[in-house]
């Protein structure tokens, strides 16, 4: 046990596998063709070809036995390709409800990010337009509902397959109390963070390629310090989010969840999975927003045109993050974990939150 920032051999091979698969099967033409729904059944079928949909489940459950540390690598590769498949949602949902048809990917599963409203509706569930099974909170229970997906999404910013779904209509199974869903939400935040890191990384690659090539005033625009300095901020944003997502995965894989993790704001030590997942999600949302914004800007007017790829990433940076809600609310939720309000139980396993601090 010691600090290690390199990928493990397992992570390396998973990264290579998914990156080469997506480079071949998911060039940006595939992303464009999948719009406006934002789902490619062919790509999903291809992923089933190497058992990707069930990889997040233990081998005993018929899955691939991948650790969270492996899944963040997968999610980053998906984000980098802007892959039009709901694998992040499916991986999270499958871990709550390992039914055979979900493990194989014959049925697509997703999660609803917010509890059902009074009429039993889950508003704008990610992948709700294409998922056969939706898992979420209804009242004080976590339920899974099997129902035919609508197959269409309301026209939206990211061309994401989001849709309203019913928590009541369909084949409904109670999976546990509402609290059983906490872990799934933390995993979704963590994996979405990794996907957004992939988006931000793609924005850096695309931006660098463009500024190396585009000439104005007789030289490449990448030689101008104003642009160099704007791009030089990207690595801290991207790497910071990537390491937070990996640290959240490490915490989850090592059982540092809730009271078993540490949240010590006096020493700045945080090893609790849910708090780290929330931090990763927020940092990755910021990284993806800033990197796609600046990269698009350095394209001049061309970045605004649909012909160029940067706009695909710009829209996903916002769409994939804001589906959870206002980031300020997410920060307030995080603040309650780090500095629990008096008498609250909000702090997810706050080992030692603010104490009588030193000066």
């Amino acid at each position: 046990m010691a600090l290690e920032f390199g990928l493990s051999p397992d992570q390396e091979s998973i990264s290579d596998l998914f990156s080469s698969f997506l480079a071949k099967e998911c060039p940006t033409e595939v992303v464009r063709e999948a719009e406006p729904l934002g789902h490619s059944p062919m790509l999903w079928t291809a992923l089933q070809g190497f058992d990707a949909p069930g990889m997040g489940l233990p081998v005993e459950a018929g899955g691939g036995g991948a650790a969270l540390a492996d899944l963040v690598v997968v999610a980053e590769a998906l984000g980098r390709a802007a892959a039009p498949v709901p694998l992040v949602e499916h991986l999270v949902a499958s871990r709550l409800h390992p039914e055979a048809a979900i493990v194989s990917g014959d049925l697509i599963a997703t999660i609803a990010l917010h509890p059902a409203d009074g009429s039993g509706l889950w508003r704008l569930a990610p992948a709700g337009a294409v998922a056969n099974v939706v898992i979420g909170i209804d009242g004080d229970e976590t339920v899974a509902v099997h129902a035919a997906p609508p197959g269409v999404a309301p026209a939206n910013h990211a061309c994401a397959p989001i849709a309203d779904r019913s928590a009541r209509l369909g084949d409904r199974v109670v999976l546990g109390p509402a609290s059983a869903f906490d872990r799934a939400l933390a995993e979704w935040r963590m994996l979405t963070a990794s996907a957004l890191v992939g988006v931000a990384t793609a924005a850096l690659d695309i931006g660098l390629a463009y500024v190396r090539e585009r000439e104005q005033f007789g030289r490449t625009i990448g030689s101008y310090q104003a642009i160099q300095h704007g791009l030089a901020d990207f690595p801290a944003l991207i790497d910071g989010a990537r390491f937070l997502a990996h640290k959240a995965a490490w915490a989850g894989d090592n059982g540092r969840v809730g009271a078993a993790g540490v949240i010590d704001m006096d020493e700045g030590e945080i090893t609790e999975h849910c708090a780290l997942a929330s931090m990763a999600f927020l940092q990755a949302g910021e990284a993806a927003a800033v990197c796609t914004d600046r990269s698009l800007h350095y394209h001049g007017g061309y970045g605004f045109s649909k012909e160029y790829d940067i706009q695909l990433y710009f829209r996903r940076a916002r769409g994939w993050a804001n589906i959870l809600g206002d980031p300020a609310r997410e920060r307030l939720r995080l603040a309650d974990m780090l500095w629990p309000p008096p008498g609250s139980t909000a702090g997810v396993g706050a080992g030692r939150a603010i104490t009588a601090g030193r000066a």
Binding site: M1, D233, D239
Partner: protein, 380 residues
């Protein structure tokens, strides 16, 4: 990836905390503010006695995690480690480039915490553009020695240091990076004078002057005229490992004030505090990554620049936000009635200001990232 510390490192952390609790009392901190000398002799000597300065020395064969842990624990605690950082850095340089005689004569004093060293690098006309320095070292053929003339700026600790690590031009005809020589010279050498430079950060720095300072070859660090190589080794030690952990004590002190004042219930404040907690984590992870690249022998590349720019700019933003949020109480200095966080908030705004300048400005570090990480054209 693995984010855990080994038992050995946890033990070092425990030792650090024990020593700081014993030696860095409120009175000791007060004295550093009163005098402007950011040095606590009892603390640094205790680190020396415990063998911790020797462990924190940078260089091949040393554990960079030890080095990071020592400076980051000091920073989190609010213990003044600048003098320790300079001493270990120069001990590291001597370990690589010094002579056996220097390692016998100089290193033990540095690593015991009893002797301090200051840096004579920057000059009035040579800051970010360090090769422009004008301090001259001229070979004196009559006694096989050197005669040094010039002036240095920002010689922090110069008034209490036993040694100065000095960069001088020894052959002006040798091109931009050629003809530099580095020395380690006793501050008591005739011809060296020290004038205080008072800063808005409470801290005293110095201007130092060298008038016909005569030294022998025993003061050379590395080969004559090969000083730029020495600088490369030294600056690589410095960048992005220390001074990236300031957000944690800032946030701790702010949270303490916010709790006492009831401000912590304000959602606007909580929203921002959560953001600062994220930035503190990012700063630490980026720094740990730099440590790891050094440990694996890959680094340091641009990782240190990435960490330094991010962490120091985040610290400045945070301090300025905390001050604005504390309102008028955030303007009050130490020992004033009602001062927010006992005056630390005012202090952090002042103290954070030079962090984006010293050890490589943000602009120089961004150039470094653009040129070395991205391979974009160098345009200066």
């Amino acid at each position: 990836m693995d984010f855990s510390l080994s038992d050995e490192h946890l033990e070092l952390r425990r030792q650090m905390r024990e020593i700081m609790t014993a030696t860095v009392t409120a009175e000791v901190i007060d004295e550093t503010h009163r005098s402007g000398t950011n040095h606590a002799p009892g603390f640094i000597e205790a680190l020396g006695d415990a063998g911790i300065l020797a462990r924190a020395m940078p260089g091949p064969g040393q554990d960079p995690v030890d080095m990071w842990l020592v400076s980051s624990e000091a920073e989190k605690f609010g213990a003044p480690f600048d003098a320790g950082g300079m001493a270990t850095s120069i001990a590291g340089v001597l370990a690589q480039l010094g002579t056996d005689e220097q390692r016998r004569r100089i290193t033990p004093g540095l690593l015991s915490g009893r002797e301090l060293v200051c840096f004579g690098l920057t000059e009035p006309d040579g800051g970010s553009d360090l090769p422009r320095i004008k301090t001259r070292a001229v070979r004196n053929e009559t006694d096989d020695g050197w005669i040094i003339n010039g002036a240095k700026m920002w010689t922090t600790m110069g008034h209490v240091a036993d040694w100065v690590f000095l960069l001088a031009r020894s052959d002006a005809s040798a091109g931009r990076y050629g003809g530099f020589t580095t020395f380690i010279i006793p501050m008591s050498t005739p011809g060296i004078t020290v004038d205080p430079v008072w800063t808005m950060g409470t801290e005293r720095s110095n201007a130092t002057f060298y008038d016909d300072v005569r030294v022998g070859d025993e003061c050379l660090v590395g080969e004559a005229h090969e000083g730029w190589r020495t600088m490369g080794i030294m600056l690589a030690f410095e960048r992005g490992l220390g001074n990236t952990g300031a957000l944690t004590p800032l946030l701790r002190r702010f949270a303490q004030w916010a709790t006492e004042s009831g401000t912590i219930d304000d959602p606007l404040v909580r929203d921002h505090m959560a953001q600062l907690a994220i930035e503190a984590q990012v700063a630490e992870l980026l720094t740990q990554r730099t440590v790891w690249t050094i440990a694996t022998g890959e680094g340091p590349g641009t990782e240190g620049s990435v960490a330094k720019v991010y962490a120091t700019e985040a610290y400045q933003r945070a301090a300025r936000w905390a001050q604005a949020t504390a309102g008028a109480d955030g303007l009050l200095r130490f020992h004033e009635a009602g001062a927010a966080a006992d005056g630390w908030i005012d202090y952090d705004v002042r103290h954070s200001t030079p962090q984006t300048l010293q050890g490589g400005t943000s602009e120089i570090n961004r150039n470094n990232i653009a040129e070395r990480q991205f391979g974009l054209p160098r345009m200066r």
